[in-house]
Symmetry: none
Subunit: 400 residues, 2 copies
């Protein structure tokens, strides 16, 4: 649904919507058993819920497109993932809970190793230990650049976040990473006047950092890429009239939710705590995004059995999840992460919506194959929120 | 997938993609048996492949739209058939292997019969024999027009191809065909200055041709329509990074493939030769388009039994087709041609994709009805190539 139309159609209600995202939910059959992770797992609670729900498969972005976490979640939050593109630098910053603002340009930084001629000999500085990297970042924080505020924050190993803050900065800045070894880092360039000015700040930083890092044995160079400004996403409250809360353990998902205008509530302890915080704040919000990471982590590790376990562990929380008493409960995935591929994939993702207004169907298990016969068919993930809004009595009639 | 996005996401790989198009594949049940051509045919090899493939139905252009061969194939080649419109004149030219260039405007020509008053009495000149028509075309080839090069080539019966070559020509030229009998041919008009100039060349030709044809007993007039310039399609190599080859017997399909940037390899002998040429050139290309015409020809003839036979004959080649060892094998149709309609139709078309990353499903036969329950659902034909690219490991992740 077009967001302008959404803003026109939305109406207040007392209903509650819960979106529970099982990260990387979709899978593929492993050849030994010809059964997928979902087919192999024993999930009696999810099965019971499935029987009384509308189910289908979401297409996260488009046919054949393997989404990153950004587009995968934004689509479920109702944002056209083609239109709202979150840059790598921004994701990296929100991923460490850095509070990005509208005057910021963020980039992902990598420490690298330069040889005697200044050429890159290791693009990741031997994946230097996080503590060592953090110490070097602290040194770099002393750098000052006139006309702009500078933030450098450690991430993990050789990675750090680089943020420039100032008015009129631009994000169309080319990477300083030559993308190969045996050549030196390159200077950043801007493709419009705001970005040119930004590039000159970047290059000033790079020169000063190079002097400062010259005595480092391994991380004696750096590269910056994925320059991106804070994306001014239309806020969920304004579009959908939803006071939205995020219950996510990992910073990146909290960060993505905050970009959409959600309040990220603290719940570092995992599902049990996430559900308990949801109960605590039940009256304060209309929409709750609950993020479950273990399915994706197991899939990325290529660990089929661990993904099955993650699904079965999730299943134990389903009674509490359903017990929240939401008017609309969605169980969805941001993308597939088949253990057999040990990576995100393009495959459509099982989806379930429970409400008093579902048609239901004959589906017994929330699996890739059974969902094909579900009442929702295969549909774009970006339509999940409008569908939930309808079930929640929060959308007016269209036209007379 | 937007082609700019495709160009950004594509990455090199050693994988091979094969698209085998059974022209006019989709059909309709005949009332006697309530079974379609695909349902009636005995295709054990295709059945076996179907069991381990993702299947669905492609929507060639849009709901209710009956595609010509141009849009039907372009969609399968990844081009939005609404955006990339191949004019009739161009199709007619590529259909006879005429090498169109960027400075050309092509049109379809028809010989017609004029009465004593110069009015059209037969728009197709009694479907004059091809040999006779070719002789008249040869006479017309003597015509010269200052400022532009002129090509006239016979097609079949009363049809010929008319091409103007020169810089700055326009394609927005109106037809000289009044579309009815009892009235004279009309002069061409251009709707912009380049097209006006083009129309004046066209009219000069028409006047000279009229003088030359005055003594012809039947084909004493002509009309021209479907003026179109060479469409500068983005090339498959640039967009998708694919070295693409076409294995098609009929010139029109070779021509369409060439417009997309494919190399059209000679294989006049049919499927066996097409597959053998594919094997011969296996290392030289990443993508092979193999065209099978018999299904459509039988459908167009309204010959249900012949279409069944064409499907069964194709089935005998399936082991060799699968034996090519493609990483991704698609079996598709450019549109439906139900024998009961003896014409192209708008019905969605059975589609199969085989790769190690398919989810598969419960479908046993590649038929219109069973494909409805397939893992791909009904999807736009233009998404077939992105899907194949994903399965071939040739698309990067979208977004971070």
């Amino acid at each position: 649904m077009d967001l302008d139309l959404a803003a026109k159609l939305q109406q207040p209600a007392h209903s509650k919507i819960v979106l529970c995202v099982l990260d990387g939910l979709g899978g593929l059959a492993r050849s030994e058993t010809e059964r997928s992770e979902l087919e192999e797992s024993d999930t009696p609670n999810l099965d019971r819920l499935t029987e009384t729900s509308d189910v289908g498969l979401t297409m996260p972005v488009g046919v054949g497109i393997t989404p990153g976490s950004g587009p995968g979640h934004l689509a479920l939050f109702g944002y056209d993932p083609y239109r709202f593109d979150i840059g790598r630098g921004v994701l990296e910053a929100v991923g460490i809970d850095f509070e990005l603002g509208p005057d910021d340009v963020a980039a992902r930084g990598n420490f690298c190793t330069l040889d005697a001629d200044g050429n890159i000999s290791d693009r990741r500085a031997g994946r230097i230990a996080s503590e060592k990297s953090a110490a070097i970042v602290e040194r770099l924080q002393a750098i000052e650049i006139e006309g702009v505020e500078l933030f450098i924050e450690p991430v993990r190993e050789h990675r750090f976040v680089f943020v420039l803050r100032g008015s009129g900065l631009g994000e169309d800045v080319t990477t300083t990473d030559p993308q190969s070894e045996g050549v030196p880092p390159v200077f950043a360039k801007g493709t419009d006047s705001a970005s040119e000015r930004t590039a000159s700040y970047v290059n000033e930083f790079v020169v000063k950092a190079a002097e400062m890092l010259a005595d480092e044995p391994v991380a004696n160079g750096l590269t910056l890429r994925g320059f991106a400004t804070y994306p001014a996403l239309p806020q969920m409250r304004e579009i959908w009239g939803l006071r939205a809360a995020a219950l996510a353990v990992y910073p990146m998902y909290r960060g993505l939710a905050k970009l959409a205008g959600m309040s990220a509530l603290a719940c570092p302890g995992g599902m049990e705590e996430q559900l308990s915080v949801a109960r605590e704040y039940w009256d304060k919000f209309d929409y709750f995004f609950i993020h479950y990471k273990k399915t994706d982590a197991a899939g990325e590790d290529g660990d089929f059995a661990a993904k099955v376990r993650a699904l079965e562990e999730f299943d134990k929380h389903v009674p509490s999840l359903a017990g929240l008493g939401a008017d609309v409960l969605m169980i969805a995935g941001d993308h597939s992460t088949p253990a057999s591929m040990a990576a995100h994939s393009w495959h459509p993702v099982p989806f379930l919506l429970n409400s008093p207004f579902t048609r239901g169907g004959s589906v017994q298990h929330l699996t890739e194959s059974e969902c094909l016969g579900g009442s929702l068919g295969i549909f774009p993930a970006v339509e999940a929120l409008p569908l939930a809004m309808a079930h929640a009595g929060r959308l007016k009639k269209y036209g007379a």
